[in-house]
Assembly symmetry: C2
Homo-oligomer: 617 residues x 2
């Protein structure tokens, strides 16, 4: 979801002059950087960075997800972390490339605890090569490498061993003991893509973990949504860890197909997973260093005592259902979009859909297709991009067949994406959306002529920044926007005042007759789950989740530099927030899993720059 | 399972002399070959082949799986097929390599019907470059390319369409109509790895097909085997089409884990699959051009009318259970290895296992591990290789992490493997087994000292040739051979004469006390299934399946050059045999699926060299 430096104009050739090539320049920089780190000399390290500079670290130096900005902050990070991190062995892992005055290099390095990779971008400043952006990311812990590839398990244990147990017997024994004679070190609450991806990684790392979910089967989180739902992100962006979708997988997978995939992923990855299980409360004991978690499994009460508690209850948190007067007198169906059953029952009926984002459009489109009379109520402006244009101009350089053909694997794409500092990410985004505005001008003209309130984000940076900042305010158009533009789906504006027996009444008195009202009104911050399951004090101490502090709509400052509380240590001991789309569930589950593994193994994990809380929800 | 020409010594460099390099030599050969084909000039084409030469075609010229040997046969193939095939566009797909006097080239080409790939090996003979081996293989039909990668389905159908059906609705509708209002074009009997891999390919190609299997769930074919079973082939050799095992998959997967994978695969590949379904009879009607197949599904009788009938009932065919006098008086348990429940019930009991191949060793080992008193009865000599040695010396060049690191993908490995002519395959195999004999000399010495009858195959060519020739006669040692060598598992020799109430009596009078007798006595030819479900006349007309006609033990001549009746047209109209290990199920399902697709689409498929039948079973 970003424009990157165009690799097609890049070159790895050394020019004919005696000037050092990109490889030499990067090698020299890395050597100087490593020396500064070895000396714990923050000032020397900072001098290697440009005046405008960003160092993003994913748990390799900071045991945190942290971006520092500017030389002083670089110096501070080095001074605080270099000694304990003991980084070494910085080297390029493939030939660096130069384009538009920026040398880009894939790098590898080690720390005392593990091995890392990253991406370095050098710019010339004052005649010297200086780091503009640096990404450092831990990918494995020494002595705890994942059993994959050449280190995969044997499966059949060779030799003859009295009373050996089979794989199936071991799995059964494990399942029977889990929660009774053995405790999970990590309890993951919520078994959607986030919980499942994390569960798979923890399994792979040998961390005793358990994922619990209220639904009868893994994948029901998707199956239970409105029936027309397909993924809005394309397949290349959506892979889970370890097992990629096959190349016959649809670009936009239907919800039930994703549901099936998740169910079998749980099985083949051997993720310990309890369906039909609800958490009713969780309480931390400083004394025992454990959570006491009360659950209901298949209706039976049960207590677990995990050391770490992960909320993977949906990045969007809890359905936001406004309190609207008259809901009790309304005679038709009324429900939140998350509970919308689909259009079948509403042919010939009058439907009013409150909201104008993804779910609202999907639901309006499906209702119209099934011959309902549909009105969308727009309460505030929405950003719309055409799915094709988003794929071509937004994602295509990183996540597409084109990207794969150019050698940009999912793993590389994730790191490139992670290497773009949040502070300036919008500047990479704006040109893509300007291009979309131009490409799809006819569509936008029609849409605005229909009276639809359309925006491109506060600073014109479009969809992905809205997602990162507020997690709402957009629709990826797969066809329904035309229905609004054409008037097939009627459009009303304003806030809901109340419901009558058979209508929605807006604040300006407009009355919209209705047999069914769908509140596609979004979700509250996910720390609402913490308030429910732990308590309000803990939720407040944790603070708001998601958002960057960009001081744009619904993302109040101050600037945080990273997504609040996601995938990293929080102000609440041994409580973690995990979630996001499939891309984030895939990529950031790695760092969350490694943080949990390190704690499980008793590896020292001094956290640098734990974020302060500025907003409670 | 073969030694190939060592690519590590290969070179693509053009020498300093004016001699043409490998690329020029291959290009020149391909141009001359294409010209001869264009002219339909068999003699000219044959002149481009060496005196000793082999051309293997996988349905691209012959609509058959066919190896022709020698120039005359090459000329015959060209004369008969060039005009209808209309081949063109022969070109290398990557730089050819030269090693040990052989130039090896990956090639691509087209025919009137489709696109092919292959592998060419040139040798110099009489100062000219001549083909020693040529593999030509169709991989797709023009106009019927698979929807994959850049052609993958969209999933979400963009736009707004009245009464659109969701993926789930379409799948349900399809499932409900299949077998009632719609008929499968192809009925695949048997839903193990063979039936499933073929079902996935047919699905992908848009051929209406149905896989039926008697077990309650896909994967039960594995789950129901003896509990200690793990795959004897390593993971790199075992991938199914389209979806590879993830890189954390065990080298030798336990049977229940493979069972889960197959079940998962059926679902995500959307293979139409009926569990709990048995075929009771099948009858071909020349008049209607259809099979009439009677089935029982969930106990209910049902008739299907497919055009094509595929037996994927297990390459090993039906369990071979000898008629032994006294079975009725024996008081203990007696069963075939395929029905062996595992060792748990037999601790402290006396077990006699008849046979000395894979299943016999696995079962003996598991019984010994569970404290049974075990005797193996060896009736004829067995070939044993240590699993590690087989992986290192037999498979490693093609199917291993090492091969992958060297760029030998599964797809390439399959083609390299397919390019080695069966006539000379043993010559590639013998050195690998000589190396194993040397490497594991201490083990073989001990084994033979124990009295075990050990062999290396009739010509010393080892395990894989035994597999191809007779499908039996070997054990891949994962530990149990030592139990025999050490005497932990007792060894007896000879044929079974009869059972008493509590013992097995051998022909020489030896009495082996027994609480349980396991007949690990192998399987009959798979055309026994045809006799059962169609009739004996049809089974006889079909003839023996499997084997090469090598005139070695259990593989009578005459020389066939290919595996009898497998994956190709047979003497019985619209009846096909599919099966083999996971490698064969993966690779040859492609050619069988394309043959079925071509017939479904009404593409002309003149079969060249349909094999005669020399043996009935």
């Amino acid at each position: 979801m970003t424009q990157t430096l165009d690799p097609s104009t890049a070159t790895t050739e050394t020019p004919d002059t005696a000037e050092p090539g990109p490889a030499e320049r990067v090698d020299a920089w890395l050597a100087a950087f490593e020396a500064a780190l070895r000396d714990g000399d923050g000032e020397a390290a900072a001098a290697l960075f440009a005046t405008e500079c960003y160092w993003r670290d994913l748990i390799s130096f900071t045991w945190n997800i942290k971006t520092v900005e500017g030389r002083d902050a670089v110096a501070g990070l080095v001074d605080a972390t270099a000694a304990t991190t003991a980084p070494s062995g910085f080297a390029t892992t493939e030939p660096p490339e130069e384009a538009d005055g920026v040398v880009t290099a894939w790098i590898g390095f080690e720390t005392a605890a593990g091995r890392g990779n990253g991406l370095l971008r050098l710019k010339e400043e004052d005649g010297e090569d200086r780091a503009w952006t640096l990404l450092t990311a831990l990918y494995e812990l020494k002595g705890h490498e994942e059993p994959r590839g050449t280190h995969r398990p044997m499966g059949a244990e060779h030799g003859a061993n009295k009373h050996r147990q089979t794989w199936k017997e071991l799995r059964q024994e494990e399942a029977e003991s889990l929660g009774s004679t053995t405790q999970p070190y990590v309890l993951v609450v919520g078994g959607g893509q986030g919980g499942i991806a994390l569960g798979a990684r923890l399994r792979q790392l040998g961390v005793p973990a358990l994922v619990v979910d209220k639904h009868p089967r893994p994948g029901d989180q998707w199956r239970n949504r409105y029936k027309s739902l397909c993924l809005h992100d394309p397949v290349w962006y959506d892979h889970l860890p370890y097992l990629k979708f096959p190349d016959n997988w649809p670009v936009f997978a239907p919800k039930d197909k994703i549901g099936d995939w998740l169910e079998f992923y749980v099985r083949v990855m051997e993720v310990p997973y309890w369906s039909d299980t609800s958490v009713t409360s969780a309480r931390w004991s400083e004394e025992t260093g454990e959570w006491t978690v009360e659950l209901e499994r298949d209706g039976q009460p049960l207590t677990l005592r995990p050391t770490q508690l992960v909320f993977a209850t949906g990045m969007s948190g809890k359905p936001r259902m406004p309190e609207v007067p008259g809901m009790d007198v309304f005679r038709g169906d009324v429900h939140h979009s998350s509970a919308h059953p689909g259009p079948d029952a509403y042919a010939g009926k009058k439907a009013v859909v409150i909201g104008s984002n993804n779910s609202a459009f999907d639901i309006c489109g499906a209702l119209w297709e099934h011959d309902a009379d549909v009105t969308m109520v727009q309460r505030s402006s929405t950003h719309i991009v055409k799915s094709d244009s988003l794929m071509e101009l937004g994602l295509g350089d990183l996540y597409s067949e084109r990207a794969l053909a150019a050698g940009v694997t999912t793993e590389k794409a994730d790191l490139i994406f992670a290497s773009l500092p949040y502070r300036i990410l919008h500047t990479f985004q704006i040109p893509a959306y300007e291009a979309m505005a131009k490409k799809d001008k006819e569509f936008y003209d029609r849409l605005e002529a229909s009276g639809f309130w359309h925006d491109w984000g506060d600073d014109g940076s479009g969809l992905f920044m809205k997602y990162l900042r507020r997690g709402s305010g957009y629709y990826i158009d797969v066809g329904s926007a035309d229905l609004v533009a054409n008037g097939d789906v009627k459009l009303a504006h304003g806030q809901i005042d109340h419901l009558t027996e058979d209508a929605v009444v807006l604040a300006d008195g407009t009355e919209l007759p209705a047999d069914v009202v769908v509140f596609a009104t979004g979700y509250n911050s996910m720390n609402g789950w913490v308030a429910d399951l732990v308590d309000q004090e803990t939720a407040d101490r944790l603070g708001k989740c998601w958002g960057l502090g960009s001081e744009t709509t619904k993302d109040p400052g101050p600037w945080e530099g990273e997504q609040r509380n996601m995938w990293k240590p929080t102000q609440v001991t041994n409580l973690w927030m995990h979630g996001g789309n499939l891309h984030q569930s895939r990529h950031y589950s790695l760092y969350l899993a490694l943080q949990l593994k390190a704690r499980y193994e008793g590896i020292d994990t001094p956290v640098y720059g734990l974020q302060e809380v500025h907003h409670t929800g």
